[in-house]
Symmetry: C2
Subunit: 346 residues, 2 copies
């Protein structure tokens, strides 16, 4: 049993963990481990948005960003996913990860200009970037052998960690929680720059990417997941998308991961922006929509036991004000962090 907090980020605590030192989780979970030399990671979401049939410009833009990713200074890993949002627009989001901020910065300046610097026919584009210090970030995996998201660029996975399977584990896994309540500061502001709309969000904004992979499940387990768990998960994701703002969820996307050939895969993830880690905690712990998800997942996992083939993971970041970048071009006003601010119709 090891701590989710890597040894070199352990500090003298001024805030306590939520569980006693002798706490033993009831089942194993694992976290991504970066090389100690990695001080920051970057997670960058590049979105294409359109309504109706796929415009040629969308296909071109997706090829273009893939080309940029493959070029000098590009990410160590990226993936792509799809969803249809509350306004009926399709969104295809390419998510890229770096573990070197200098390499990212050099790569990003021209890539940004290429992505949101010019209008394209019939599509909107957007960029959402966090570049947190590793002390502001945590991951959790239900099993080994198939890292996802930011964990792909890590050095490897931990052994079994202590801080999970209780409410508050997410916070306790973030190294900064040893000394900082990570309270939100300020309110999101719109910064128009011609047609480009930037959002300056609040200090200690929180991002979660929470994924499901049912590709290894067979017959009865697959049926149980798709019939009993997935619909409840979808209902919760829809609630956050449509009514999240009142409880501090700025935006939520329930994404279908696309495979390399652009087809849908048997993987999904929810990705959401929150005013604070505390707001995410409150929803997860006590909102009826997540209590239902938690109940369905508990029932599923206790029915299957250790033989379950479903893979679950998440990554959570609490970003300082200067670790964030949001820019939207020709997107509808409920896109991503635009939903957190008042915009005038373009």
């Amino acid at each position: 049993m090891e701590s989710a907090i890597p040894m070199h980020l352990e500090t003298q605590r001024t805030r306590h963990m939520r569980v006693p030192d002798d706490y033993q989780p009831p089942y194993p979970s694992f976290v991504a481990r970066y090389k100690p030399a990695v001080s920051r990671v970057v997670m960058a979401y590049f979105g294409v948005q359109y309504r109706g049939a796929t415009p040629a410009a969308a296909t071109e833009a997706l090829a273009e960003i893939a080309g940029l990713f493959a070029g000098e200074g590009g990410p160590s890993h990226w993936d792509r996913a799809h969803y249809v949002d509350q306004a009926g627009h399709a969104n295809i989001v390419s998510v890229a990860y770096w573990d070197d901020i200098a390499r990212f910065d050099a790569w990003f300046a021209p890539a940004r200009e290429a992505w949101t610097g010019k209008s394209r026919d019939g599509i909107g584009t957007f960029i959402e970037v966090l570049r947190p210090t590793v002390a502001r970030h945590e991951t959790l995996f239900s099993s080994l052998g198939r890292p996802e998201g930011v964990a792909v660029i890590a050095d490897g996975m931990s052994g079994e960690v202590q801080e999970h399977a209780y409410w508050g584990g997410m916070r306790d896994r973030i190294p900064l929680s040893q000394t900082d309540p990570m309270s939100p500061g300020g309110n999101p502001e719109l910064i128009p720059d011609g047609a480009r709309l930037r959002v300056k969000a609040n200090d200690n904004l929180c991002l979660i990417r929470s994924g499901q992979d049912w590709s290894d499940t067979e017959a009865s387990e697959r049926k149980l997941y798709l019939d009993d768990v997935e619909p409840v998960l979808r209902e919760g994701m829809d609630f956050l998308r449509d009514d999240g703002l009142a409880i501090g969820c700025y935006a939520n996307r329930y994404m279908e991961v696309l495979s390399a050939d652009g087809k849908t895969s048997e993987k999904s993830y929810g990705q959401s922006w929150w005013k604070s880690l505390a707001a995410l905690e409150r929803w997860a712990e006590s909102h009826p929509t997540h209590v239902k998800i938690f109940g369905a997942a508990m029932k599923y996992l206790s029915t299957l036991g250790p033989s379950a083939k479903l893979r679950l993971y998440h990554e959570v970041t609490v970003a300082a004000a200067d670790e964030q970048f949001f820019e939207y071009l020709n997107c509808h006003p409920k896109t991503g962090m635009l939903a957190a601010v008042e915009t005038v119709a373009a």
Copy 2:
């Protein structure tokens, strides 16, 4: 909005609350308020145990303890409840409350001798007492106007309190949590004294009495409670009774409150002894049996909204080693805290 911690018990914190200062609970709840002069309360459980038809000795014992309660130095309030335990024995427990330790001590010495000092034909008797400082104790009520248990002897009820409707609220309402993790110390020990068996339990032992009152519910609400909530609650109570030890629950009784005429009423409570507050927290937050109870209660309350007539309350104490007293005479070895120690057959 006020703190559940009374002003005169606020201290310089070395441990943080689980929620931010601006946390707003989604619905109202209330706590009992004692006069600031009250430094300790006493909760004393006097049990009668027998198998099969009620022996004359049981009826006599119940009349006797009621007489003692009514005498000089007796409790400010008491109530009585009934349950059939895992060994098939009936248990009738008279629970009495004091807010003056000197009065209790003077009253208790002869009462104890009367209750567990002599064997009675065909029945066992037991005494379980906590006498915590008020800083080691909290209550919670879903509505005003009908205090139960220890709250009956309080000065009154608070206004709406902040520390509830999140996991960790129970701990945050206990004043001592401001500075102390309330970790358990030591292991329960059996102290035989002839036929009398005493248990010296561990430091920071935890007691919860968690009650339900459906006497005000009508037609459809009553049906919903009795059909959808109560069976799930009973299942959880049975789990704690039969299999609780492995998760730190020494003993659990799911009691039917008896009215003044000795008949059953439309009130019940679960009463359980725990190794620690942390063990109780873990069960409540993540054990499938309580997750089901929580889910059923959430569904019930969200169906009915503010019109719900069901009343819920609890009282929780974390007692220091010298604030506890357990004594059993002619009871079976799974009775109360005897379940926590090895006993030889009498």
